[in-house]
């Protein structure tokens, strides 16, 4: 039966049996995690278990679980290696997507960004969630119906007149987008390892990468999926506990998502008394370029003037542009798109995007509460106090360099302007602010590690499949044996991991910036090509290839020019929103070039029609040789 379809079809009944078994396993896992945390906490409080031991227990336990799941899911089947056998139930794919999606940036830096930017930081909250609406309505069911392995597979089949060139360009775009993103994750892993577990940063990077490889090397997408579900559970528990306790302590009600309204109110009142600019007032920051001041000297370029875009500060324009850019980028990220290949049908794909966003929502709905509560606490019991008698947690974090106090006027009292924080402190210090034992701080660190590792897993798989499946097996050596393709994909994942590690070692500030760039790059390349490829039959290969190349180059050129010299802008937009221009150029080129050249042949247009039907298999076999399923 493997000959007729591209995979062995599973029935509804099998899926539902599978789903209830999964629910039991992961339910037990959740209970186990909570019991383990309670046990360690008791040992800490009553037996004096040292912090270092607690940290190591959490790191070894979680890495051990990921490795265990990874080894359990060893596979020799290509469809399992690339798309987890297409039998992941919608809810569990939602959790895996949640972990895949939420990186160190979401887990650790998001709340801090909101703390620093106030209202303006909400562009990230809306941008990184609103993109899922586009994904659900415009992409996911059609990608699933197409049902191959990679996003370049789709581009190559849809634009088959120039199959190899279209595939090559798409694969290169996927590699560029994912590599900019994965380096930041690896950096995040190193930082967490060094801060919480006392490892050297460089050692931390490679221990973390070893963790990633344990999950992805043996079982590819299959083991990545099931580790990501476990990672999601760890990260969401770790994220919700500290802020819930803090909310209970500050307001008496353990429901931070609702109670931070009170915190916002108090913040605004205190700020008014102190004559500070309001936290909730919109459009008062130029959203970018602050980091360029730090990172350019590191790579030997002069730093730009810090304040730019004066004309546009105070207007909603940059906020809206960045939001739009993040949304379209979200919908175009290959490592998220391929997750919808793994569900049983297009109907499941639609539902699964809903579950994905629901699980992401649990964290994003809570992030502003972290920011508001800690800002309230700082304004209430840190600012305006005698520097000699600040709360103990402040002094602890001063030692890490994440919090700086500089009594500029020498009056012994801390003014707001004399306090500087690095955003990451907001999540990391909350357990301490809430008066929780170190065990919870270690759990938060394990959660941050889970977030960074799970995202790195998904990204490395995209890079390695682009190299081994798209470029090697489909372009360079189409006759490669089954075993050789497998070998290549494992070698490539190793190479990609080592390269990402090497790129993370110098620890450039530039790298954190690159996360935002990944979204602009995805918005400039995949979003327009997928949108027109699915919904506009007249789009052809020439248009798509011209669009992808033009979009990519425009985006990179704008980012580079504006980053190095912030005075170079169009419409006042910074490099963070460069995707707007890349996307516009991509759409324009695709439409113009497609209309100027011959339409795609009839069998391709028929395939586009078939994508619309949400049941059954695609009848036009897109490529011979894509059949997978059996053993070698």
């Amino acid at each position: 039966m493997a000959q007729e379809g591209s995979y062995v079809r599973v029935t509804r009944k099998e899926i539902s049996v599978f789903q209830s078994r999964l629910a039991r396993y992961y339910g037990a896992f959740l209970v186990g995690l909570i019991l383990f945390t309670l046990l360690i906490m008791l040992l800490e409080l009553y037996a004096g278990l040292p912090n270092r031991v607690i940290g190591w227990l959490f790191i070894l336990l979680t890495l051990g679980i990921y490795a265990f799941i990874g080894i359990l899911n060893f596979t020799r089947r290509l469809d399992e290696y690339y798309v987890a056998g297409r039998r992941v139930p919608a809810v569990f794919n939602g959790m895996a997507t949640g972990a895949d999606w939420m990186s160190a940036a979401s887990f650790i830096s998001m709340a801090g960004t909101l703390w620093l930017l106030g209202y303006d930081g909400l562009a990230y909250i809306m941008g990184w969630t609103g993109g899922y609406v586009l994904l659900a309505l415009l992409f996911a069911p059609y990608i699933r119906k197409f049902g191959q392995f990679t996003i370049p597979d789709f581009v190559a089949a849809r634009f088959a007149e120039r199959e190899k060139l279209a595939r090559l360009v798409a694969a290169i775009c996927a590699i560029i987008v994912s590599f900019t993103y994965v380096t930041a994750q690896v950096t995040g892993v190193g930082i967490i390892m060094s801060r919480f577990f006392g490892l050297d940063y460089r050692v931390g990077v490679f221990v973390g990468l070893a963790g990633v490889l344990l999950c992805s090397f043996l079982g590819g997408m299959k083991s990545i999926t099931w580790t990501q579900v476990a990672q999601y559970i760890i990260l969401i528990v770790a994220y919700l506990i500290p802020v819930t306790v803090l909310s209970a302590r500050l307001t008496g009600i353990p429901f931070p998502q609702l109670m931070y309204g009170e915190a916002l109110n108090q913040i605004v009142q205190i700020e008014r008394q102190l004559n500070l600019s309001s936290y909730v007032e919109p459009f008062k920051t130029a959203l970018s370029n602050a980091s360029a001041v730090r990172s350019l000297p590191e790579i030997g370029l002069p730093a730009p003037e810090p304040i730019v875009n004066r004309d546009w500060v105070g207007t909603p324009w940059e906020f809206l542009a960045l939001t739009f850019c993040l949304m379209t980028g979200t919908a175009g990220l290959p490592h998220i798109l391929i997750r919808y290949y793994t569900v049983p049908s297009p109907k499941d794909a639609r539902l699964s995007v809903g579950w994905s966003l629901f699980f992401i929502y649990l964290l994003y709905f809570t992030a502003p509460a972290y920011a508001a509560f800690s800002r309230w606490e700082v304004l209430r019991s840190v600012v305006g106090q005698q520097i000699a008698t600040l709360p103990a947690w402040v002094n602890n974090w001063v030692q890490t360099g994440l919090l700086t106090i500089n009594d500029a006027n020498g009056d012994g009292i801390l003014q707001f302007s004399e306090l500087q924080i690095v955003g990451d402190i907001v999540v990391l210090a909350t357990p301490e602010i809430a008066g929780l034992p170190f065990t919870i701080a270690a759990l938060v660190a394990a959660g941050g590690l889970a977030a960074a590792l799970s995202t790195a897993d998904g990204l490395l798989l995209v890079i390695s499949t682009a190299l081994s499946h798209d470029i090697y097996a489909k372009i360079i050596n189409p006759n490669a044996s089954y075993g050789r393709r497998f070998l290549m994909s494992r070698v490539m994942i190793l190479i990609a991991a080592v390269l990402a590690g090497l790129a993370a070692i110098p620890r450039l500030a530039l790298i954190v910036q690159m996360v935002a760039w990944a979204f602009s790059l995805a918005a400039s390349t995949f979003f327009p090509v997928l949108l027109l490829g699915i919904f506009w039959k007249r789009a052809n290969a020439n248009g798509a290839i011209a669009g992808m190349i033009g979009g990519l180059l425009t985006c990179i050129a704008y980012m580079a020019a504006n980053y190095v010299n912030p005075n170079i802008t169009i419409l006042g937009l910074s490099h963070l929103s460069a995707g707007i221009f890349g996307m516009a150029v991509n759409f324009a080129l695709q439409v113009i070039v497609s209309l100027a050249t011959a339409p795609s042949p009839k069998h391709i247009q028929d395939m586009v029609e078939q994508l619309r039907i949400p049941v059954g298999e695609l009848k036009v076999a897109p490529q011979p040789g894509a059949v997978a399923g059996g053993e070698d």
């Binding site: 209202y119 909250i125 459009f283 909603p316 939001t323 639609r350 539902l351 966003l357 929502y361």
Partner: protein, 94 residues
């Protein structure tokens, strides 16, 4: 005969596609409104306080919009899977 059947099939698919599009357009319009139309007025909206004291402008971006996104996706998935697919006979599994 063969032609007629495939013509009926063609128009069934076309009608299904139109209905799909109509739903997409309605939901994307709501998506656009909750994403892009309130931020320009955030400053004025912040003078209104809701729930436990949230300034309305801040609340719309931090909780309002993203809650609507979750509802929009489930609305699309459930309406397509349970109503529209069925209406056009695309609900059979295997």
């Amino acid at each position: 005969m063969e032609d007629q059947r495939s013509q009926a099939e063609q128009s069934r698919i076309a009608a299904y596609w139109r209905e799909n599009w109509r739903l997409i357009i309605i939901l994307l319009t709501i998506w656009f409104i909750v994403s892009y139309l309130h931020p320009p007025f955030a400053k004025a909206l912040n003078d209104i306080h809701i729930l436990t004291g949230f300034p309305l402008g801040y609340w719309l971006s931090s909780q309002g919009a993203i809650t609507v996104y979750v509802i929009l996706i489930f609305t699309y998935a459930l309406r397509m899977n349970r109503v529209i697919d069925k209406k056009y006979g695309f609900d059979e599994e295997e």
